[in-house]
């Protein structure tokens, strides 16, 4: 009997368990999935929780519900990956593996920035990338009387790079609906050179910031927060003050990756970008946010990767060459507020452009353009997530690699 071990039962790990249970011979392979937490969160919902658009129960389910029969589900902390011996040390046992899939994701590390996770954490400084953060922020916003709201990215890469921008757009809507937009100033602070960084998106979407009266502060590389004076200070001495700070802290891979000597500077696993095999070990694969791939850290990326990784695991088992096939495909809805959204479809090489999706020339969804239909797509996605995506069911008409059909692509790619 051989062992395939999946570390992490989030979006990626759960999808892999569901794919592989149907593909691996039960006589030969035992599949085990490990996660210390029993809860599975619908992470895209964390964006909506602060604005009372989703209730807490809409984003939480028991992880067990999504682990297929025949897969052993272990709720223990992962202490170390002993790759020299093909073993994983858990709190209470050792697991041997023939194949290891690392799906331990990424998490926020506010303690990396001086002054962030101290006295004012979840009082005037919030994150919305955790359930606790999003809920604390909801409670704050319910009674906040206005002032300067700063939406901030600490450093790249972060999970779901568009979420901070969506947060700023939804905040504009939220305060308009509450009849207090005139009491709120919104500022978007980024270490990059703009809220939008790609040419087509900047051209097509910059009006959103102007229309919504969101001010941009760019090239701001935060050094520390002086929380007593509500001020962020960057390495060049620039200062940004706030009344309410909503930040996306540094994102790091799991500490077990670091303690096992498997990560880069940010604890992400160096991974081959086309095959998803780890760069150092043939029998270790990585998927989703845990990798160092130059793709977005997003559920849709993990979904496309899962289809390709499943193929490659089977090829690996049969001693055949792996397919160098993953192209960095991502497909994301972006909420713009007031019941509208955008949709973007892109990969490693192709920046998001205008067009139609999923049917070339038909739609019904428009790429890189605001519409109500896109917003409905985003809302419907919660159902798709719980019922199809994490169960490893293929989403019709959406291929794992990006199609260029139906897109306005010119030669000046970026």
């Amino acid at each position: 009997m051989k062992n395939l071990v999946i570390l992490g039962a989030g979006t990626s790990g759960t999808m892999m368990a569901n794919h592989l249970i149907h593909k691996l011979d039960k006589e030969d392979w035992k599949i085990t999935i490990v996660d210390q937490y029993k809860t599975h969160y619908y992470q895209p919902g964390f964006l909506f929780l602060p604005f009372d658009i989703y209730k807490t129960k809409q984003v939480i389910k028991k992880g067990k519900k999504f682990i297929p029969k025949g897969v052993r589900y272990v709720n223990q902390k992962i202490e170390k990956i002993i790759h020299q011996e093909n073993k994983v040390k858990l709190e209470g046992e050792y697991l041997d593996y023939d194949i290891l899939i690392i799906a331990t994701g990424t998490k926020i590390a506010p303690e990396e920035t001086e002054g962030m996770k101290e006295k004012e954490w979840h009082k005037s400084i919030f994150d919305f990338y955790t359930f606790e953060g999003a809920k604390a922020l909801r409670n704050k916003l319910r009674k906040w009387e206005g002032g300067k709201l700063v939406v901030h990215i600490t450093e790249m890469p972060i999970k779901c790079p568009v979420a901070p921008l969506e947060f700023a757009f939804l905040a504009d809507s939220y305060f308009i609906n509450k009849g207090m937009r005139d009491k709120v100033e919104i500022e978007f602070v980024t270490p990059l050179d703009g809220a939008f960084t790609k040419p087509k998106a900047t051209q097509a979407l910059h009006y959103l910031l102007e229309d919504k009266n969101i001010k941009e502060v760019t090239d701001f590389n935060i050094e520390k927060i002086d929380y007593e004076n509500n001020t962020m200070i960057d390495y060049s001495g620039k200062k940004v003050t706030y009344d309410l700070l909503v930040t996306v802290p540094t994102n790091l891979g799991d500490e077990v990756i670091e303690s096992s000597g498997l990560g880069d500077d940010m604890n992400f696993v160096p991974t081959h970008k086309g095959t998803l095999q780890s760069k150092k070990h043939e029998n270790i694969f990585a998927i989703g946010d845990a990798t160092n791939l130059p793709a977005s850290k997003a559920g849709s990326v993990a979904h496309f990767e899962a289809e390709i990784l499943t193929e490659n695991i089977l090829l690996y088992i049969n001693d055949k060459p792996l397919k160098d096939k993953f192209d960095g495909h991502a497909n994301c809805f972006i909420e713009t507020g007031h019941g509208k959204a955008l949709l973007i479809d892109f990969n490693y090489n192709q920046e998001p452009v205008e067009g139609t999706f999923p049917f070339p020339g038909v739609g019904p969804l428009n790429l890189l353009k605001e519409s109500r239909m896109n917003h409905m797509g985003k809302m419907a996605f919660k159902w798709i997530y719980w019922n199809m995506l994490i169960k490893g069911i293929h989403i019709p008409f959406v291929s794992a690699t990006m199609t260029e059909k139906g897109k306005k692509i010119d030669n000046n790619n970026n």
């Binding site: 890469p157 568009v162 270490p191 050179d193 790609k198 590389n221 390495y235 977005s296």
Partner: protein
């Protein structure tokens, strides 16, 4: 410099066209006189780019090549934005 292809913002479109002379010329446009210290940073960035690793201020800090204050002194304004342009590699970006 005439046949070096650059995008609207001034970044090289094709890294294979990069030479130390090209880097020096771009630095001049930014009013930067290149020194050994500058080139050390540029080599580090190019190596990261070659390995397809993402660039961040944190990475620079951890690299030991230069500390952040020095990095700002070497490339005043937007250090990552300017140093990547001199290195002939794309500026750090988000997905849109």
């Amino acid at each position: 410099m005439d046949n070096i292809k650059r995008n609207e913002q001034g970044y090289l479109e094709d890294f294979s066209q990069w030479t130390k002379e090209v880097g020096t010329e771009i630095a001049k446009e930014k009013e930067i006189e290149m020194t050994e210290e500058h080139w050390k940073v540029i080599s580090y960035l190019q190596e990261k780019h070659e390995n397809e690793e993402s660039l961040s201020i944190r990475g620079i800090k951890k690299s030991g090549v230069v500390n952040i204050k020095e990095f700002y002194n070497l490339f005043p304004g937007g250090p990552l934005k300017i140093s990547t342009m001199i290195a002939g590699i794309p500026k750090p970006k988000s997905c849109i």
